[in-house]
Structure formats: C-alpha cells, structure tokens
Point group: C2
Chain length 330, copies 2
C-alpha cells in the first residue's frame, strides 16, 4: 500500500483539517463527531440538505457542501458508514426550521444509520435514496442496487431547488425523480487500499479489469481481460441504456466520472468514445460533467452516468453553485 499518510488512525482527521483550512471561505469542519457545514449559516426557511457516507469517495460529499448544493456532509471512516450522532449533530447545526433532506446512497449501513438519525430527530425530515448502479442487484454491502455517481447529480439538482425555496416535499420528490432518471455503471483497472487495512481491497491481474465494479471495489458483473476504451464504453452504455431506455432525441447529461486514480486524458477519451455511441443512437448530450467526483481512493477506474433531462432538471443543473469541487455561475 502506497499512500501519503502518517497513521491510519489520524488519516481522516488530518485530511479533514486540511480540507477545512484550504477552503475556509466555503466550509467549516467540526470534529467528534465529524461533520462539515457551509461557512455561512443556512438561511431561515431553506430546506437543509445533508449527505454522508464512508470517506474515500472525495470530493463526494464534503467537496459538495456550499451554496447551491449541500448544507452539511457527514464523513464516516474510510469505506465505513457515518454514525447517527454525526447526522444528528449536523442536522442540529443546519436545520433552519424548514426541515432536512438526507441524501443516502443505498448501502445497508448508511441506510440503517440515516434511518436511526431520522427517527431520533424531532423536526420534519425526509430521505432520498440513490441506487443508480445498474451493474448488479444486491452486492457485498447492499440489498438492491448500489448508489454511486448519480448521487452527485441528485445533490446538485435538489440543492438548487432548496436554494430557490422548494419545500421539503418538493425537494424529496425532485430527488427521487433525478435518481429514477439516472443510471450508472463502472469499471476498474486497479484495486484500492483502505489505510487501516494496509492491503488492496481486492486482487486483480495485470491484464484484467472488473466490469461493473462498486465504489468500494465490490465485484461487478464479471472479471475480464482489458478491452479497448471504445469496447468498454459501448458495453457500459448498453447496460445503462437497457435500464434507462432513453428515447431518440432525448436530452441527457453525460457524466464521465473517474474513480480517483484515473488521469483526465483518459476520462476525456471515454467521453469522446461515449459520444460516438450516443450520437449513433440520436441521444443528445445536452449537459456534461467530466472529472473525479465519486471516487474509490486511488482506484484507476471510470464510471459513466446518464441522467435523462427535462426543462426542470436543466434549470436546476445550470443554476449557480459554489463548493470546493463544483462551482459555476458565481
């Protein structure tokens, strides 16, 4: 395992401290329990968005806290669910009276702990569960489909509605819609190592790839010899399209996501190869996002997410956002 770290015990805390110091104009970091809020308090009457999950997927979710996206994020230890006390402390800090939306990726531990926090809360709240990964039903840590990169899209779009004054019910409804309109699938070339474990999460041969991999290195559909980027891209899109069934001339967001160790050149190459496939099917790339957003530590891998757009979703995708990892329009 090759990492820049001191001790596994201090890994998360030192990283959060650095994040907080580097972006003190955007976020505040709190410790014991760990959570991140916006630097400016949530304005009265605005629904507060809280997400969280195991660390190791940065910039998701801490890098998505700020104007137009999340009000708070709760980072668990690497690849471990955050605990209800983190969520409650975050909710207490950011709930301005209009209620709290929890955005939860579908992993058993996350779901259980966010449910406990929701039950313990006195104020109104609702949850949006993301399960966009079309690769497999049920997995190492999941019943049903896994929540992966479309969570970023959900957080952007619901964050915009909340900023514009949407109610708790409206935010919940829009979040569910974005999740339903989205499909993702990923592939890994290399494994990744959790600091405390000190060894790779899974083994993979020098000429192999894991097709349909999860963001914790969970098994996908199959282990295969490395294919060309165009073959990989075509197969990912075929699986997503089978699920999403976009229509001819439908407008979509094409999101090419790196898993942490993948250079931008390769992500843009995948974007090009995906455009080849979508152009032929007359599916229109109306919006795009390329970069390492929903990562798996240092894994070399890529996932593709498609989100079917309509006027409402485009409006909230385009609206201004100012976070450590995503910023436009202001």
């Amino acid at each position: 395992m090759k990492k820049f770290m001191n001790t596994a015990d201090n890994f998360l805390k030192e990283s959060l401290q650095g994040f907080g110091a580097a972006h003190k104009d955007i976020v505040n970091c709190y410790y014991d329990p760990n959570f991140i809020t916006r630097a400016s308090p949530t304005k009265d009457g605005k629904v507060a968005l809280i997400s969280g999950g195991g660390s190791g997927h940065e910039p998701m979710h801490g890098g998505l806290v700020g104007h137009g996206m999340l009000d708070a994020a709760c980072p668990g230890y690497v690849f471990s669910s955050p605990t209800p006390d983190q969520m409650l402390a975050a909710a207490e800090k950011v709930d301005s009276g209009a209620g709290v939306i929890f955005i939860v990726k579908n992993y058993s531990g996350d779901v259980m702990n966010f449910e406990m926090a929701a039950e313990m809360m006195s104020g109104p709240n609702a949850s949006v569960l993301t399960n966009d990964d079309v690769a497999v039903e049920d997995s190492s840590f999941t019943t049903g489909r896994r929540g992966v990169a479309a969570t970023v899209v959900v957080e952007k779009i619901v964050g915009s509605l909340a900023e514009a004054g949407g109610s708790l019910e409206e935010c919940k409804k829009l979040g569910d819609k974005v999740n339903k309109n989205s499909g993702s699938m990923g592939v890994a070339l290399t494994s990744c190592s959790v600091p405390a474990a000190g060894k790779p999460n899974f083994e993979i041969g020098d000429d192999e790839m894991e097709f349909g991999v999860g963001i914790h290195g969970e098994p996908g559909r199959r282990r295969d010899k490395i294919k060309s980027a165009q073959e990989v891209t075509s197969e990912l899109l075929e699986a997503i399209n089978e699920d999403l069934k976009p229509e001819k001339n439908e407008e979509i967001l094409l999101f090419v996501n790196g898993m942490g160790g993948t250079p931008l050149t390769e992500l843009y190459l995948i974007f090009d190869n995906a455009k080849n496939v979508l152009d032929k099917k007359n599916i229109k790339i109306s919006r795009s996002l390329v970069g390492n957003y929903c990562t798996s530590l240092e894994m070399q891998g890529v996932s593709i997410t498609l989100t079917k757009l309509d006027e409402e979703l485009v409006k909230h995708w385009d609206s201004s956002v100012l976070t450590a990892a995503m910023r436009w329009g202001m």
Copy 2:
C-alpha cells in the same frame, strides 16, 4: 500498463475531441496541427497568452484556457514537446495585435521549439520561462531547473493582468516575477506509463519513493524508503524555503498539487501537514490551491509549490477565471 485507450496513435486526438465536446462553451479544439483556443475570440488589444508542452500533465495546459487565463494551448504528444507549427497556428488565431506571451516550462525541447516559433512570428512577442523546481539543477530533459506546477500560478496571474489590459512588457515582467517568487518540489510513490511506450517510465519498489521527482518521472534528489506524510512534507518545504527564503509573517500561496493518481484525501492531508510546518515558521497561508493540476499521467505523487505574494499578485490571483479546470468569481 493499464489505461483506458484504443490505440497509442489515437490517444491524444480522442482525448482532445472529448475535451472539446465536454467544454464547448469554453474552448475550441483544432487538429493537425493540434491547438486549443477559447471559444470566444480574444478581444482586440488584449495581449494573448499561449502555453503548451507535452501532453500527460492535464489539466495543464488545455484545461487552463479561458477567460482570465490562457488564450491558447499547444499539446504535444504525451511527454513530447509541441512543434513550432502548432505554436504559430495558435498565435495566428489568437493574436489580436497586442502581441503574444509564450509561457514555457524549462525543458530543452519546449524551449527550442517555442524559440523557433517566436523567431518565425512577424508580430511582437515575448516569453516567460518557468523553472520553479528546486529539486535539482539540470535533469534528463533540462539544462537548469525544471518548470513544474508554478506554471499554473504564472498562467493565472499573468492571465489576469492581460485580461485587465496589461501590455506585453508588463505581462512579461509580471510572469518573470511570479516565477522568481515561486518554488516547488515533488515526490512520487509510483511511476507512470506513456501510451506509446507501454511500460513504466521508471521502476520503483513497493516500499520506495522518489524524492524530488520530475513531472516526466525524471530522477530527483534520491530514492528512499517511504516516509510518513509529515516527514515528506517537512522535507519538501525545507528544500523550497531554503531556495525562496520567505520572511516571517510573509504571505504565501500554498499549492498542493497531485500528480494524477493521488486521491484528494491525501492532498488535503499534505496541506494540513504543510500548514503545521508553515504555522511554526510564522509564514502566513494567505491563498491556497489543492488538486491535480500539473500531473504526470497516472502517477501517485504530490508536489508542493509556495509563491510569495504581494498586493499585486493577490489581486491577480483573486480575479475572476473561467476555464475547464479553474473557475471562480464568475
């Protein structure tokens, strides 16, 4: 070698095509010869900034083309200098009459080819040479010190002055000042592979790091066993401070740069560890930048850059910028 690619011959073209398609609101890509310009033409009377170098360091330089930074970038093949015809074609497209500044990293091939382009140009032009890497004098492809991540800082600050109407002479002078005010040094945990070579640029043991590594994997000061992040950070800062000699209470930009395969968590951890060192020396972190900006393909590595700031530099650092990789203030 594990990469998302089709053929080594098409690697750059497909990647550029994807980049152009994903950011068509910001850039235009041209092929044969390859160069990237802003989507909107350079306004009359504005000095045009052009940079370039081998590919494999993305987002530098194509991702830095846009309002407030570069007018054009010329990507060579991976780790190969761009050719004078690329630079001339780019200059012809973006020179609006006020002249052209070439921002050139100090590698023999880049320097020679940019000099040839400058000689062949009819209009006024000047060059800013970056050589911020304090690790070694002379290297595999360099006489003198290597130009590395401070090039991003030079491009931001000179880009701002040019946008504000600075003359060719003023831009050249400010670029030289930023370079002189900056020092960088890097360390690698893993190697990287050029697509056409198909094998790692250098070999490194499972328990080793290369201290003072270059952005093409050139040897640094020494090969060593892996140290703790705090030890690595302290040693990098010691080398930089020895060169830059920042004074007590001096304000600096702290730039923690990933080399392509390094997760954000580790970059923020290094930022935290660097802050420990700088706080003790009463050097004030006035501005910060953390992310993968000046990369070496999929290399797991990090570099630290310090730039000594004054009022002029802060003003131009803070001014609005809108590129694929850096955007704020608009």
